[in-house]
């Protein structure tokens, strides 16, 4: 794609999300979402083949439906409150419809079906933008309406997302689908604590974005989209196998890596609010996620063969330049001792 045009489109995506995050008028938020959606379609279709077309179409249809539902919720809110300012949504119908719309945009269960298929159909870089940047806008709206969200619906969606994210990823070997299911599960964790303490949602989002960025950067570096090709990294750059191990363990939520911090804080917040079975259940279901991450590490870093590789080798192209990889890796693994600094997020 012509770099100038690509930059313009990318800037439109960024602008759309910024408009969503910084508006105080409901209509502007809807406009921001639409701008975001329309501009990201060309980015999803960077390579022109039927698979990307299918993925972009699926993405467009689900997101457009969600935007329409959002518009309906906005209108109902207008009807009952008589104003367009962003505050918490007082009318329960509007609140439920808005929560469903935003869940569809985020990819929470039961609206998660598009996430693996769309992520699989697009290139790694577009998948990166899809799974990290696109989550910011809906999450910011959820943050702003958090006092009025129906707790039952949100917690049901959150727990089901963690379940689906865990079980769905078990049968996958394609890396992009694995990252998609991991995204579903992490979104579940984020929305579970939204009503109790939205700051922790933001913390989880921050650390999730860092870890997902790191994972995608490592995948892009070795140009691998399947588990099979990821297991070749020990031939190309043995150091990245260690980095993949550390980042995957961090995503699984193992202490002492920074992926443990959001889980710990969320469990603490939920327990303070007297729900004990829920965080235990969530924590145990996160172990399903850990299982398929471990499977990835087994084929990549923990069973390095001293002999020649048994799998078909791919052409080794010139190493792509990865931006910011060392700071990302450090941040996605070593942030746990900084937990007392959480107060800066308020």
């Amino acid at each position: 794609m012509n770099p100038l045009i690509f930059t313009t489109i990318l800037m439109t995506v960024l602008l759309g999300t910024m408009i969503v995050m910084m508006s105080s008028h409901w209509l502007m938020i809807w406009i921001g979402f639409e701008m975001n959606l329309l501009a990201i379609i060309p980015i999803l279709m960077k390579k022109y083949n039927p698979r990307t077309m299918e993925a972009s179409t699926k993405y467009f249809l689900t997101q457009a439906t969600a935007s329409m539902l959002l518009m309906m919720a906005i209108i109902i809110n207008l009807m009952h409150s008589g104003q367009w300012t962003i505050t918490k949504v007082f009318n329960p119908t509007a609140s439920i419809i808005m929560t469903s719309a935003l869940a569809m945009k985020l990819g929470l269960t039961p609206f998660h079906f598009w996430v693996p298929e769309v992520t699989q159909g697009i290139s790694l870089t577009s998948g990166l933008i899809l799974l990290t940047w696109q989550k910011l806008a809906p999450m910011s709206i959820l943050y702003q309406i958090s006092p009025s969200i129906n707790l039952n619906i949100l917690l049901t969606m959150a727990v089901l997302s963690i379940l689906v994210g865990g079980w769905g990823g078990l049968n996958q070997t394609q890396l992009r689908k694995i990252m998609a299911y991991s995204s579903i599960a992490h979104m579940g964790w984020m929305t579970a604590v939204l009503v109790y303490n939205p700051t922790l949602t933001m913390l989880n989002m921050l650390i999730y974005i860092m870890m997902t960025l790191t994972m995608f950067m490592l995948f892009i570096h070795s140009s691998s989209t399947t588990t099979l090709s990821l297991s070749h990294t020990w031939n190309k750059t043995p150091l990245t196998t260690t980095l993949i191990l550390i980042t995957l363990l961090s995503m699984g939520g193992l202490p002492p890596l920074s992926g443990f911090m959001p889980k710990w804080m969320i469990i603490q917040e939920l327990t303070k609010n007297n729900s004990i079975i829920l965080p235990t259940l969530m924590a145990i279901m996160a172990l399903l996620n850990l299982y398929f991450y471990m499977r990835l590490t087994y084929s990549t870093s923990l069973t390095m063969f001293p002999s020649t590789n048994n799998m078909k080798m791919k052409w080794q192209f010139e190493t792509k330049r990865i931006t910011l990889l060392p700071p990302l890796i450090v941040m996605s693994s070593l942030l746990l001792p900084l937990t007392p600094m959480l107060s800066i997020l308020d």
């Binding site: 193992l254 710990w264 469990i267 235990t280 172990l287 471990m294 870093s301 923990l302 069973t303 390095m304």
Partner: protein
Amino acid sequence: MLKIIIPTIMLMPLTWLSKKNMIWINTTTYSLLISLISLSLLNQPSNNSLNFSLMFFSDPLSAPLLVLTTWLLPLMLMASQHHLSKEPLIRKKLYITMLTMLQTLLIMTFTATELISFYILFEATLVPTLIIITRWGNQTERLNAGLYFLFYTLMGSLPLLVALISIQNLTGSLNFLLIQYWNQALPDSWSNIFLWLACMMAFMVKMPLYGLHLWLPKAHVEAPIAGSMVLAAILLKLGGYGMLRITTMLNPQTSFMAYPFLMLSLWGMIMTSSICLRQTDLKSLIAYSSVSHMALVIVAVLIQTPWSYMGATALMIAHGLTSSMLFCLANSNYERTHSRTMILARGLQTLLPLMAAWWLLASLTNLALPPSINLIGELFVVMSSFSWSNITIILMGTNITITALYSLYMLITTQRGKYTHHINSIKPSFTRENALMALHMTPLLLLSLNPKIILGFTY
């Protein structure tokens, strides 16, 4: 405590910057020096703990375990030299780094004040151990072993996290020293029963309790020698240490909640000892013997009398040294014959007489021969369980008999009799191996002269 932690962390740059012919020498020497520093902690003037800072403390329970941990690192390094000799330099350094990282986390775990900090470090010890088992183990089953190890422990410990946080909400602080003084009886309710279960299951899995012990034979057998040593000697004791700390907060539910676990442990110790009699795999035999000894520790901790706590602590230290020594001996066999089957390497006394002496001493301490500290531990546990209920003496007596049976079975099969023909060309014992065994045995024998230091905080 930083005087121990910082040097241990600095062992990592030491390995990466050492020359090729100096890595083993440097790391072993400096880790021995660090263990000498930790010996000063054994001087506990009173029953209260020595507080070093807000975050670290050491009391008569954690000091012997800490000394054991620091003592074992040089021994692990000495034991790993042979099987790593053919690996490239970077992998050797990675291995030593994993061991050092594990050591740092273990030191911090044993001295942690705050229980959540203890939890995080307890979980953190899983990661280097997993890497050591799966990356440097020898058979394909090691993958399964690593998964079993990780997931059994995590399934048990995630409820512990929730339980610790809810206790923090109830009592306001999880600083262990404060809780000792603030302790109140837990009210009697269903949710407190689940709280008890959540607190204890993590340590039960780690110990391991008989029904949850499936990960242990796999992990011990598939791990390389340093992995087996650290697993048997220290990581199991983490479970015992955690139980000893947490049971102070869990009265009075322990009086009735402990029964199922007591039954499992009492029956389990006989079961696992009996399994040892039918094992063909040497490392598997030692692994099941660990389960059996740890079942005694579980019984002791759940009875909660001063004598049983003394017995539990002494047994943990004694078993750590003995079991680690047995794994070293099994490894010296494995390095020569590349097989763990016992009957393939018989009659070693004729070929390696000095090693036979170490085998004899290790087996004798394993079966708790007087006056070793193994005996002191087992005797205290047997006596306190007898006072708890007279019938347990039958089970305990049976267990001691069967322990003696399999220890002697192991000794006689490997050492006595006519040697097999295919092993008459094995290499003689290295000085390194003899030094390793001596370094295991000497503390064990010397401690029987002054067992007071390992008898824990109820002495």
